[in-house]
Amino acid sequence: MSAPQVPLRARVELAHAAVQALADSLGIRVLHIKGPAADPTLRAGTSSGSDVDVIVDPQGVPGLLTALRDAGWTAITDFTTGSAFDHAANLYHRDWGLLDVHQTYPGLDRDPARTFSRLWEQHQSRELAHYPCPVPDRIGQALIVLLHAARSPHVQGQLHPDTGPAWFDLSAADRGAISRLADELGAQVALAAAIGRFDEVPVTGEGALWAWFAHGGSRLEEWQARLRAAPTWRARASILRRAFRVNEYYLAQRLGHDPSRAEVRREAVRRLGHAAKDAWHSLAGGARGAWARRRAPRRGPAQGGPP
């Protein structure tokens, strides 16, 4: 008898239920976000997602990760190797697929414990695979959808399609509630980036990173933006250390086998080479620009533009 394939929608919903059951058994508070956990009226597409995302009460993160590992989940990335925001650990389970455990959410990372409590205060329950799973209320979900959209590159200058149902199509009262929640949780800059108000996004600090997400750029520019967004020297030092660390899981995926020490070293050298190449292009581009500016005839602002 052949084992039939579990349809993706079923696997994802069952995975939400599996994570919730584990959290329930430990008394750990978890909020399910995105995919089937999200209010479908706040999303432009109908995709039910391909993985599970949960925000965990920061106090419960270590306990939940230990329990997940005991339950057969394997870590792919930890909080420091996952993304620019150190916000999520990625895990994989043979039966349930991929899981992102968020200790905070990009844009809502000023005070993770307060943010979680605030979202939990208004939480609702949504049945996933007929299992009750806590989710943020509609306003909290809309803010999370928008912050997720803010991390997606703008295609041909267009905002992410989810910004329609999660912002522009909502009532003024709902938009006001989302803005107030963003203010309360320190997410004003990220929200402004999500809805295209770049005049409200500072070019330094956190704003640089959101602008990089929106407009794209080289890996070097990403790391520069991450450094600018880091609030302390210690955080900057940590970013620099991690910039050249090789993620062995992704390397294994690319190679098709577990990498040897030599392969990890080669990858580290390759990353350094790429960074050097990016830096050279950046410097050369800057020098070419400066040279062109010196040779170009001086023009007033009204005469600007290509010759």
């Binding site: 008898m1 349809p7 079923a10 696997r11 069952l14 349930w96 007929h130």
Partner: protein
């Protein structure tokens, strides 16, 4: 790991009176109308441990009947109505399958009360 279940050929001993979904069981009914190209199946699992089990055909029909009926005799009647060209021992097959689901921890069967 998955296992495809059709009602198995086990003989019932004393027919149970009621059936209900066991605690900590999650399931997704895949409706081909909502998931184009997907097979008509029910995927269920005990959570968090799993593994998921895929029910199709008459097994999926039995699960759906369990969702709407508490009395086993009503489950048997609904399946009888739904299955065309049913075998003579259909009730026995359904009861055997319910026994398998109980063994897997997915349903709870309670026996008929003993006569006073």
């Amino acid at each position: 790991m998955t296992a495809e279940h059709q009602a198995g050929p086990l003989a019932p001993d004393s027919p149970p009176a009621t059936v209900r979904i066991a605690p900590a069981v999650a399931w997704v009914d895949i409706d081909p109308a909502r998931d184009p190209g997907a097979p008509d199946t029910v995927v269920l699992a005990r959570v968090p441990q799993g593994p998921p089990m895929v029910l199709s055909g008459s097994a999926a029909q039995i699960w759906r009947a369990v969702l709407t009926h508490e009395l086993v005799r009503d489950v048997l009647a609904e399946v009888r109505d739904a299955v065309t060209d049913s075998p003579d021992d259909l009730d026995g097959l359904v009861l055997a399958f319910l026994g398998e689901l109980q063994t897997a921890g997915l349903v709870v069967l309670t026996p008929c009360p003993s006569p006073a």
